[in-house]
């Protein structure tokens, strides 16, 4: 059985657990009972979840599930019909939102501005002095791999590079809360790693990060917490590991040197796939699985025996049904 690892570390820093966070009273963004309708059609229905500091929260859902609407409401650029957005126990104010970093769904920067100047301008709007803003923008853009393009106009960048600049725009003022709508879309695998690395750094520095993505493998690799939305309602929310445990099946994979045909006669075991020494099976419970392992060892060399943990894609498909 997979269990949440209490000693998870990221970049040499302990990932704070939800319990630790609550004890310390850290910056927690909490959405409570958010409801939103467009022209009589309810797009969000009683949406509630938390985004914890020091942790990356993945926000997944199909097209039109309500991810962007939720994020825009959390940021305050869209009005909600009911519910509340709470930061550290009190409703979010305009000045709180200055501590938010936001990456909108539809990417946009001024096309005719130079990249570094643009990012520095946004930092200055957040109160940084000119020199400090320029230094921050330069460092961040270099970190994101745009060091060569600092003086280029935004419109001359490729889409992938504009995406990196957009991420810089959401990070340059060192926000405590990050709300990123599809930060990985349109990035090549190397760029995904760079951006993921930057987000992990921000989380390690204590920021609460909420990001949506369709790339479930990236979310699975990166996030600590997971929120799954479908049809405007939250279908699952919690730590990634707890969700996995909750949706774990007693499915195991056995690879042995001998023939695994005996498994078919084993009580409490359903063989799903079988080929010589390889078998994929569902066990009724842990005891049956342990019995199979002992049986396999007694019959010859076991190459591997492993529980088949459900992938995020499988969990996702299961909970949105």
């Amino acid at each position: 059985m997979p269990r949440p690892d209490p000693r998870r570390r990221r970049l040499g820093t302990r990932v704070p657990s939800v319990v630790t966070n609550e004890k310390k009273g850290c910056t927690v963004l909490h959405l409570d009972g958010i409801t939103k309708s467009y022209g009589g059609r309810r797009v969000l229905d009683d949406v509630s979840f938390s985004v914890a500091p020091g942790r990356l929260t993945g926000f997944v859902g199909g097209n039109g599930a309500g991810k962007t609407t939720t994020m825009r409401i959390a940021l305050g650029v869209l009005a909600k019909d009911a519910g509340s957005v709470v930061l550290n126990g009190s409703p979010v104010t305009t000045s709180d939102r200055r501590r938010f970093g936001y990456m909108p769904e539809e990417r946009g920067l001024y096309p005719k501005m130079k990249v570094a100047e643009h990012i520095a301008y946004l930092a200055r709007l957040h109160g940084f002095g000119k020199a400090e803003a320029t230094a921050k923008a330069t460092t961040l853009l270099e970190r994101l791999g745009l060091g060569e393009r600092l003086g280029d106009l935004v419109e001359t960048l490729s889409l992938g590079n504009q995406q990196r600049a957009q991420i810089a725009a959401s990070l340059v003022h060192e926000p405590d809360v990050l709300i990123l709508d599809e930060p990985f879309s349109g990035l090549d695998p190397l760029a995904v790693d760079v951006v993921a690395g930057v987000l992990q750094e921000k989380a390690a520095a204590g920021a609460a990060v909420l990001f949506s993505s369709h790339q479930l493998d990236v979310v699975e690799r990166l996030c600590d917490d997971l929120v799954i939305i479908a049809g405007g309602t939250i279908r699952a929310a919690g730590t990634r590991d707890a969700l996995r445990a909750e949706h774990a099946t007693h499915r195991y994979e056995l690879v042995s040197r001998g023939d695994a045909g005996w498994l078919r006669d084993e009580p409490g075991v359903t063989v799903l796939d079988f080929d010589g020494g390889y078998a994929l099976f569902d066990a009724e419970d842990d005891t049956s699985a342990q019995r199979v392992l002992q049986g396999a060892v007694s019959r010859g060399d076991v190459v591997s025996f492993a529980p088949q943990r459900p992938t995020l894609a499988e969990i996702f498909k299961e909970v949105i049904q």
Binding site: V77, S95, F100, G108, G127, F128
Partner: protein, 372 residues
């Protein structure tokens, strides 16, 4: 554990935010080649028309304004420069000189006004330069009242005020509208307003474009004044100096009014393609004074109305002042009307702007934008 210390977020003051936005607006406009080239062309055109005006004036009138006097009225213009004086034998002879066009005006004896012992007789067009040279405005008798069209100079000056207003207001009004829609279309506005208040964003945009527009107006005015001085047109300069200064002041408030409306109208749409749908009525308001002043610059009633209506006052009032029609208090009153409407426009404009800015997609209806 590398928990960062709680950051004190030094929020910039509203004034700082406004200036940052204004600075960006100015910087991005100054970097546009199209803008720089069109400004240079505008300045060259102003310079060319002033110089051309100087040549034609010199060719026509030689040393000054041709004026006929009699031995009785000669003392009234004693010591005045810029006049080409013809001494006629009698009042009738002087009037005849006006009729046949030899002189622009004649000073004849006798007056309906007790404080003057002479009357200025003109054909159809009062030479305001002459009237300004005289210490007090004397009674004027027009021989062919309303018969002829306005003089070339009157038309030319009316055209100049109208054209400069039209070009500057539509250039920078259009700029602010485009920049509002650009921010909306690219969604950069969502990032901006999570950093600064909406009203600071609007104020910064209006301020930045007003600074640019005023800079252009002052540049053109300076070119006109220096050009007139250099080409030795002291008469025109002394008559035009005050109207040009008033034009600049009127333009300042008139432009703030228009800019607020342009920003509001642009905020109601989400794409550059739709911008015309909401800004066309305001463009009409800018074009109206230009056409009115061209067609009606010899119609005192239309000019008087124009000089008080906020949108056309920047063109109408300076022109009336140049023509010598306006009492001293009239520009002040008209300016008060303009400032009051400017305040109202800022109020309505910022309301529409705030209510429409984050509404993407279809055009926001005016009633909804006002209601919020």
């Amino acid at each position: 554990m590398t928990i960062t210390a709680p950051r004190t977020h030094r929020a910039p003051s509203d004034l700082q935010s406004i200036w940052l936005v204004a600075e960006r607006e100015i910087g991005s406009k100054l970097r546009s080649k199209a803008f720089v080239i069109s400004t240079v062309i505008l300045v060259l055109a102003a310079l060319a028309s002033v110089v051309w005006g100087g040549f034609t004036a010199n060719n026509l009138s030689g040393s000054g304004i041709p004026v006929a006097v009699t031995s009785q009225t000669q003392s009234a213009i004693a010591g005045l420069d810029g006049l080409e004086v013809t001494v006629a034998d009698s009042d009738d002879a002087a009037t005849a000189l006006v009729e046949d066009g030899t002189v622009d005006a004649a000073l004849v004896s006798g007056s309906s006004d007790a404080s003057f012992d002479y009357t200025v007789v003109v054909k159809d067009n009062v030479p305001s330069t002459l009237l300004q040279m005289l210490s007090e405005t004397p009674p004027v008798q027009e021989l062919e009242r309303g018969a002829g069209a306005a003089s070339a100079l009157r038309y030319f000056i009316a055209l100049a005020f109208g054209l400069v207003f039209l070009i500057a207001a539509s250039t920078f009004g259009g700029t602010i509208a485009q920049s509002v829609v650009e921010e909306k279309q690219t969604r950069v506005v969502e990032i901006l307003i999570s950093a600064i208040p909406v009203r600071a964003l609007l104020a910064g945009k209006v301020l930045g474009n007003t600074v640019l527009a005023m800079a252009q107006i002052v540049l053109l005015a300076a070119v006109a004044v220096i050009g007139l001085a250099v080409t030795d047109q002291a008469g025109v300069l002394s008559a035009l100096g005050a109207p040009i200064a008033w034009f600049a002041i009127f333009f300042l408030f008139g432009f703030v009014l228009l800019a607020s409306l342009f920003a509001a109208a642009a905020a109601m749409v989400s794409r550059q393609e739709d911008i015309g749908a909401t800004t066309t009525p305001i463009t009409m308001l800018i074009m109206a004074p230009y056409f009115l002043v061209i067609f009606f610059n010899d119609n005192p009633v239309v000019l008087t109305i124009m000089s008080y209506v906020p949108f056309s006052a920047p063109v109408g009032m300076p022109l009336r002042m140049y023509l010598g029609d306006a009492q001293w208090w009239e520009p002040v009153l008209s300016l008060l009307v303009l400032v009051a409407s400017c305040v109202v426009a800022i109020g309505i404009g910022s309301r529409i702007y705030q209510n429409s800015l984050l509404r993407m997609g279809a055009r926001v209806k005016l009633a909804e934008a006002l209601k919020g």
